[in-house]
């Protein structure tokens, strides 16, 4: 059984003058259990429409969608789904703790079980220190993290994340990426919509690219990105004579060197290293930043 399966899922909208606009065009795709699936595409390609159809917020014009084998038109299908909307807006007058508690109650949780879950999730997303602060005072990154906490409150097997790092600074963005990896490690299935392709590449097992409401490419990230006709070594402490020998060996075996040089670090790593060294030995100044260790940049 798939976590998500759509069959010929189609959505039409009516524009001004009642013209029909195709939002999603006979979409067929499936998300397997315990995988991270990245749904990519330019603005207006149908990513958010797909999520809203899966969540029952829109009704399909044609076709159907299922969550763990149950039609999405049933409210019960959402007992196993957690959703983080793009730029999440919650009630600004509630504190972080009250927000998670509110969503927990909506999922039928009460008493000690709910209180334990609230504490556990606030710890998971690193907001324990800000649990009594109103959301009106939260930064964008903190809102995303509280959004993740509310999405996880009923311990769903499937998480739908719409642009989870939109507007978040690089450190917050990496933290959310690490959280996604942690959640996959906990056995969750994730469907992720994002514009940040590097991040999708880092965390997704499979991707699908939507364009004008149609799936134009789908497959395993590694398969899609691998260039099997090429190979690269990254070496340390290689002397000039050794380099010459390697070149000669490649040529002698019939290979061709396409490029060589010093690999550059990524801007992300440079940014993290700079911030980390500036923070070293200092207390973190703002409550909006993390009181915990900075995340580790992926190589």
């Amino acid at each position: 059984m798939h976590a998500i399966e759509t069959r010929s899922l189609t959505k039409h909208f009516r524009s001004t003058w009642r013209r029909r606009v195709v939002g999603l065009d006979h979409l067929n795709f499936a998300v397997r259990e315990n995988e991270v699936y990245g749904l990519l595409g330019p603005n207006g390609s149908g990513k958010s429409t797909t999520l809203k159809l899966i969540l029952g917020l829109y009704r399909p014009s044609e076709g159907e969608a299922e969550i763990f084998g149950m039609g999405v038109e049933r409210t019960a299908s959402r007992t196993r789904v957690g959703y983080l909307p793009e730029n999440p807006y919650f009630y600004r007058y509630l504190t972080g703790e009250e927000t998670v508690r509110f969503f927990g109650r909506l999922c039928g949780m009460r008493g000690r079980r709910l209180e334990e879950k609230v504490a556990e999730l606030l710890a998971l997303v690193g907001l324990e220190a800000h649990r009594h602060r109103r959301l009106a005072g939260y930064s964008k990154g903190m809102l995303q993290r509280i959004g993740l906490a509310q999405a996880l409150v009923h311990d769903p097997r499937l998480l739908l994340l719409d642009e989870p790092t939109a507007g978040v600074d690089p450190i917050g963005s990496i933290e959310i990426r690490d959280l996604i990896l942690k959640l996959r490690g906990m056995g969750k299935t994730l469907l992720l919509c994002s514009h940040l392709l590097d991040q999708v590449q880092d965390v997704c097992d499979r991707i699908g690219i939507l364009h004008y409401g149609k799936m134009i490419l789908e497959g395993d990230v590694k398969d899609l990105l691998a260039r099997r006709e090429q190979f690269q070594f990254i070496c340390e402490d290689l002397t000039d004579p050794a380099r010459t020998k390697v070149r000669e060996a490649i040529r002698a075996s019939g290979g061709r060197i396409v490029s060589e040089g010093n690999p550059a670090t990524t801007l992300e790593q440079l940014f993290l290293q700079s911030v980390r060294s500036a923070d070293r030995g200092k207390a973190v100044a703002s409550g909006a930043t993390r009181p915990v260790d900075l995340p580790t940049a992926q190589p």
Binding site: L55, L57, T75, R78, P85, Y89, Y93, F103, G108, R157
Partner: protein, 296 residues
């Protein structure tokens, strides 16, 4: 082990209550609510200073003025507060994470109504307490005045008679009946406004429509008469539509009868309340049908 997903999810009053309680907090935090509530309380309290008549007329004036103030401010809070409920949820996108949870749309909409209804109950109760306090204060003042007047040698009316007259007017059970029906009327307004907000595109449109329906509701009895009269067929048809769709809100107005000291049978009050609850239930049912199909 993972528990299996239930095939059906029943209606939950727990979820409805959670949404209702949050709706109350949401409306209480809005400025318009304080402004209307404070203004309503001030208007009720001020009736004491306007009334400078004889004792009987002073009590009548306070009753009339205060019941009118409770009616108007209750209806205004119901209209403005309810009109904003759904548009705010949609504009702020706070509705997405809620409906993405296992929450029926009926629970959400009825939760919003329940929250607003609880707030109206609280508001009307608060205004009624101020009214009761004012009535009690006036009663004490008048009783003291009457006692002083009766102690003058040659007074025509005994102090006991005056006191009985004053107490009969101030401690009138009919006042509770009138306030009860004001509450039911506010609930009808709330249901109508919620119904409009399921399809209206703007809050202003909703408030204006609610005000028009409210005014038409007070002219409903006249419309019913006119629909049977000898006006042009168009006017008669229009009056028939108004008489059919708009509730007779005048039926909920017991202020005149209370002020005049008329007897108000309990059966009449209960029948009128039943009519109001039935009308509100119909409005909510239509709102649910529309909201169920609405694309969020």
């Amino acid at each position: 082990m993972d528990t299996p997903t239930p095939r059906r999810l029943g209606f939950s009053f727990g979820r409805l209550w959670t949404i209702g309680r949050n709706t109350m907090t949401e409306v209480i935090r809005q400025k318009f609510f304080y402004i209307l509530l404070v203004f309503g309380l001030v208007v009720i309290a001020s009736s004491h200073f306007f009334a400078q008549f004889s004792s009987a007329e002073q009590i009548k004036f306070i009753k009339d003025f205060s019941l009118a103030a409770i009616t108007i401010f209750g209806a205004l809070i119901a209209m403005v507060g309810t009109a904003e409920l759904l548009p705010l949820e949609l504009d702020n996108r706070t509705i997405y994470p809620i409906l993405a949870k296992p929450v029926h749309r009926a629970e959400f909409l009825l939760g919003k109504f329940a929250g607003m209804a609880m707030l109206l109950l609280f508001t009307i109760l608060l205004m009624s307490l101020i009214f009761a306090g004012l009535l009690f204060y006036t009663e004490r003042q008048l009783l003291a005045g009457a006692a002083a007047a009766a102690s003058v040698p040659g007074a025509e009316v005994s102090p006991g008679e005056i006191a009985a007259q004053i107490l009969q007017q101030t401690r009138d059970f009919a006042l509770l009946k009138a306030i009860f029906l004001i509450g039911i009327k506010a609930l009808i307004v709330c249901a109508i406004s919620l119904l409009i907000s399921t399809f209206a595109t703007s809050v202003i449109f909703n408030v204006i429509s609610s005000v028009i329906i409210y005014l038409c509701g007070h002219l409903e009895a006249g419309a019913r008469q006119a629909s049977l009269g000898d006006q042009s067929p168009v006017v008669r048809a229009l009056m028939r539509v108004i008489a059919f769709f708009v509730p007779d809100l005048n039926a909920f107005n017991l202020a005149d009868a209370v002020v005049l000291g008329q007897h108000i049978p309990l059966r009449l009050v209960l029948n009128t309340a039943g009519y109001g609850i039935f009308y509100a239930a119909i409005a909510l049912a239509v709102a649910l049908v529309i909201f169920q199909e609405k694309e969020i």
